[in-house]
Every structure is written in structure tokens, then in C-alpha cells.
Amino acid sequence: MAEPLISARNIKKYFDVGEGMLKAVDGISFDIYPGETFGLVGESGCGKSTAGRTIIRLYDPTEGELIFNGKNIYDLSHREMQEVRRNFQMIFQDPYASLNPRMTVEEIVAEPLDIHKAYKNHEERKARVIELLELVGLNEEHAMRFPHEFSGGQRQRIGIARALALNPKFIVCDEPISALDVSIQAQVVNLLKDLQEKLGLTYMFIAHDLSMVRYISDRVGVMYLGHMMELAKSEELYDNPIHPYTRALLSAIPIPNPEIQRSRKRIMLEGDVPSPINPKPGCRFVDRCSYAVDKCRKETPVFEEIKPNHFVACHRAREI
């Protein structure tokens, strides 16, 4: 396989919350290859958004390395980081909150260009903004309007145009469609796929909608309480899940087909996700796992390759 575009090694991000350490991301490692879409799924509070933000260094990590172009970007100075950051962009969840209501669309889309002084004169700036708007299915007329004049789907397009302004290589999409209606979701997903093909982008796609993640991602990682539980090619993960948590998660997705849905056997999980503040040692999923044995309470399972390109963190991965 090709060289990875970015390699995350043992990334940790802790927050001091007074009553202890909130271990939002607790040692996750993975590679993302150029041109692919890496999906990250998990339930709320599992650390997937923190992982996405730590990777592009919006948060400074507690520990770990992120190799991009042969360099660990966590070692870079503020100045060097600014140069590298052109390559990383983010699309946010809430298209209502992530655009400044007092700026016109042109100002919003041109802001990254302004910061990085990526144009010679005013005409060039304007031309680039129009080019970007057209790329995401908007047009020149929209440039002088304000965010409140747009629908949710259109706003998300503006957010995408802004993310594309500096020709990034890697975009973290943090739940980019969860605030949108189903019919609009498909529009945005199709746009993201087209742009990926046209511009050779690499995505990290964070979401809790598992069927959408399967559809858009080449490989998918499953997180639970700050740990990566399973990682595999999209089809492989959904067809042959190994980790008990992944199995439960997949069986909980309602399928829009009454015949199949009503005859399915679901794995019901008892209880809720435990608190990530000062978590106990051992497997994070142990209290809700029907396969748990004593070893699971004592030792944290290693994240290892069980089958080619299929990684699982479970002591009993080979037997169940």
C-alpha cells in the first residue's frame, strides 16, 4: 500500500476537570492514506470529536505523535505550524453556529486566504472566492449575502468552500451532515464525494450515523470511551465485526426495510456508557460486555491485527 498521508501514534488528550482527569482520547494509533476516507464512529462522549480536533492540532495533545510529510507536527513551533496548517482543514457539525453571522459569504470564504495572504490583488481574491463557490454548487450572486439568508444545506456548502480555500490535503469532517434533513444529507455527501475525486482530498469523516459512515468511508474505526476498539475496511467491518461492542452497535441500527428489521435479532446493551473521568484499568467495555472474563477487568487489551488489515482490541477476539 502507498505511504500514509498522516500517521497517528498513541495520541492522548486529557482534560483536567477538577474531580480528576477526563481521558477523552487515551492512546489511539492509526494511519490515513492519501485519497481515502477514514470514518470514525462511536457514541456521544466516546472522544471521536476530540480525536479529530487533536489530530489537526486544534487541541494540543497530552501525548503522542502525528507524522505528516515525515515530520511530527506536534513538535512544530507556532510559526511552522501555521505553514503546515494550510494542509489541514475542518468542516464543522453545526452550519448555523460555524459561520459568523456578521460576515458576508465572500468574507467568510476569503478569510483563510486573507490570513495566509494567498492572493496578489483584490481581483484575484474575488475570482478565487467565486471559483470556490461554484465548486460547491453556489454562485457569484451568493457572495454578497449573509449566512442567515441560506438554508442548512447551503450553509454547509459555504463551510465546505471555506475549508477548500487553501487547497488542503486533509479535511476533518466532524458530523458534517447530522444537523441536516435526510434529503439534504445526500446532497452534501454526494458533493463531498465529488470534491474528493476532483481534488484528490483525504477525509476523516466523524459521525454517529453508522449507515452513512459505511457508505462514505473506505476504512472505519470504532471508538469507545477514548479507546479504538476496532478498525477495518468498511465492508469487512460491517460484514464481519469482531469486537462485541461493534457487533452491538451495528445490530442497533434500524434498517429501513420492515421485513428485515422485524426479523433481526438485536444485541441489547445494558446500561449507559461509563464516565471517562478517571476510568478504571482494563477493557473500557467490560461492564457492558457479555463475553467479559476476569482478564478483561485487569488488563487493557492490545490493539492488534487479528486478520490482515483488521485491527481489534479484545482479549477474546480470536475465540468469539
Binding site: S183, P254, D272
Partner: protein
């Protein structure tokens, strides 16, 4: 089947500074005993306004009823006074709201919030009501209910709060439960628990459910009958199997095609519905889906079709299903 609720030609509008918004435009449907009816559609299609009309929870003004009747056990709710409605609301008809984070009172203990309704509606003593509250929390599988009733909402997780909401709605053994996106704010594993719980309680109490959702997977799982709403109107209605397997309206078909399925190939394109729903300040004269429909014909622009029956339970509003239109397909042909 015995009908618990009949909605007849309901029309609800909102007065605003810019004019009248016709949020619900002449809809009729009914709900049978222990039946689950799902209402699906995009945001702004009028599904929540319909639910809130039945509960009479709409702020008036700006909202007002333009016409129609809501018959609950044959009794028109729109003719009742606010006082009479209060005796029904939360007692015979209950509602579970979308957001468990904001629909509980943060300054009141959980137990007290449940007891409040019991004392008011069923004239129980506080002691009896408390016992009943613990029983209800047990029923919705909240662990240690004796301890939990003395806690505040912020001490509960999202899933637990939604359970409390359901306990609150069930406590008076209602005949009809209206669940407005009851699991949208929850994770899938918790969602599965809550839906399972609702099914169980429905069986026990012989309750009817109106389920408002945009998740077609949940519809497939839960409902007996499906109503597809768009721009304040019903476009298609039928048994769940009929809607999924014998889809008649282009909008329903598009809606079904726009969600990725777990069994579809990743190379298959996702069918998005281009454009956005019409503005209900000036509702279109013809079919409200005209602008976004790939099969739109001339007549669709000027005339809204009537319902065409496909079976005794299945009907849709589309000119394509009109006996005279079968041969003519394609835009503006």
C-alpha cells in the same frame, strides 16, 4: 378497528409579521386502538405542528386553527375549553418530546415531577403517588428508582432522562401516546433500548402511538401505518409494508432512496432530492413537490391531485397515479 383518534381536514396556520404561514393544510388521518402510526417528513413539513395541535400545545396567537376537527374517542377536542383539555392532556393523551435535556424541569426532583401529574389527574395522595412513581421508573428500567426519585435531572444521562420522560408520559396509562422524535437526541444503542421499551409498554397498556420521526429505519421497526407529509400536506399514506414495498409517490420513493442502506454497494450513488421545500407563506397552487419532482408534468404545476386509492389502506396524491396519466411520464411531457 376501533378508532381512538380521528383528524378530519385539519388546517393550522401561523400569523406572522410577513403574513400567514400555512403550516398544516387540510390533513385527515385516524389512529386505531393499539396501533402505531408514524408520521415522516422533512423539517418544516408540519409533523410537529400536527402533534402539538392534537395536544393543543400551540401558542395561540400566533397559531390558529383554520378548520377541521380532531376527534378523540368521537369527541371534538377543538370544541373543548382549556380546562377540559387539561383533564385530557397528560392523562388520556400524553406526549414524549424530542429533547430530554430541556423538557424536564431542572429545578425539580425527578420524583416530584412524576408525582405532580398523578396528584393532579388521579387525585392520589402524595404517598400513593410516590409509590406509583417508583413503580413507573421500574417499568422503564431506571435502576434504583427509590434513590433516583430524589435526584435532579442533571444527575441523569440522556438515555435515562428519556426513560424518565417516558415514565412521565405513561404514568396515567394514556390511551394515546404522541412521541415527537423520541430518540433523535440519543445514541443508537440507547435508541434501541428505548424503542424496545416503548413496544413493551404499548403491549401491556394497549396504547396507541403516534410516532413522529425522520428516521425511516425506526419507521420500519415500529409502525403499523405510515403517513408521509410534505409542505403541510399528506402525500402518501399506507400500511408500513405498502409504503416500503409498493411506494407510490415520487417523494416517498426519493426519501427512501436518499438514506444509505447497510446492504447497498458503496459505488451506488445516493439519490439526493435537489432543491428545498416550498415556502409556506405562499403555498404553491399545484402539487407542493412540483419543483423537486423529476416526473413533474404541466398539470402538476396548476392542480394539486386528489388522493388515489391503491388498496383499502393505501392512498397517494400524485397525478402519475391518476388513471389517465399512466402513459405520460417525464418532465413537462
Amino acid at each position: 378497528m376501533e378508532k381512538v383518534l380521528e383528524v378530519k381536514n385539519l388546517a393550522v396556520s401561523f400569523k406572522t409579521f410577513f403574513g400567514e404561514v400555512e403550516a398544516v393544510r387540510d390533513i385527515s388521518f385516524d389512529v386505531g386502538r393499539s396501533e402505531t402510526v408514524a408520521i415522516v417528513g422533512e423539517s418544516g413539513c408540519g409533523k410537529s405542528v400536527t402533534a402539538n395541535s392534537i395536544m393543543q400545545l400551540l401558542p395561540m396567537p400566533p397559531a390558529f386553527f383554520k378548520g377541521g376537527e380532531i376527534l378523540f374517542n368521537g369527541d371534538n377536542l377543538l370544541k373543548r375549553s382549556e380546562k377540559e383539555i387539561q383533564a385530557i392532556r397528560g392523562n388520556q393523551i400524553s406526549m414524549v418530546f424530542q429533547d430530554p435535556m430541556t423538557s424536564l424541569n431542572p429545578t425539580m426532583k425527578i420524583g416530584k415531577q412524576i408525582v405532580e401529574g398523578l396528584v393532579k389527574h388521579q387525585k392520589l395522595s402524595t404517598e400513593e403517588a410516590k409509590k406509583k412513581a417508583i413503580e413507573m421508573l421500574n417499568l422503564v428500567a431506571v435502576p434504583q428508582p427509590e434513590k433516583r426519585i430524589n435526584q435532579y435531572p442533571h444527575e441523569f444521562s440522556g438515555g435515562m432522562r428519556q426513560r424518565v420522560m417516558i415514565a412521565l408520559a405513561m404514568v396515567s396509562t394514556p390511551q394515546l401516546l404522541i412521541a415527537d422524535e423520541p430518540t433523535t437526541a440519543l445514541d443508537v444503542t440507547v435508541q434501541a433500548q428505548i424503542l424496545e421499551l416503548m413496544k413493551e409498554i404499548q403491549k401491556k397498556l394497549n396504547m396507541s402511538i403516534i410516532l413522529i420521526t425522520h428516521d425511516l429505519g425506526i419507521v420500519a421497526d415500529m409502525s403499523d401505518k405510515v403517513i408521509v407529509m410534505y409542505a403541510g400536506q399528506i402525500l402518501e399514506e399506507g400500511l408500513t409494508e405498502e409504503i416500503f414495498e409498493n411506494t407510490k409517490h415520487p417523494y416517498t420513493r426519493k426519501l427512501l432512496a436518499s438514506v444509505p442502506r447497510l446492504d447497498m454497494s458503496r459505488d451506488e450513488p445516493l439519490h439526493s432530492i435537489e432543491g428545498t421545500p416550498p415556502d409556506l407563506y405562499i403555498p404553491p397552487k399545484g402539487c407542493s413537490f412540483y419543483d423537486r419532482c423529476e416526473y413533474a408534468m404541466k398539470i402538476c404545476k396548476s392542480h394539486m391531485p386528489d388522493f388515489e386509492s391503491h388498496s383499502s389502506t393505501h392512498k397517494s396524491r400524485c397525478w402519475l397515479n391518476h388513471p389517465m396519466a399512466q402513459a405520460n411520464e417525464g418532465r413537462n411531457s
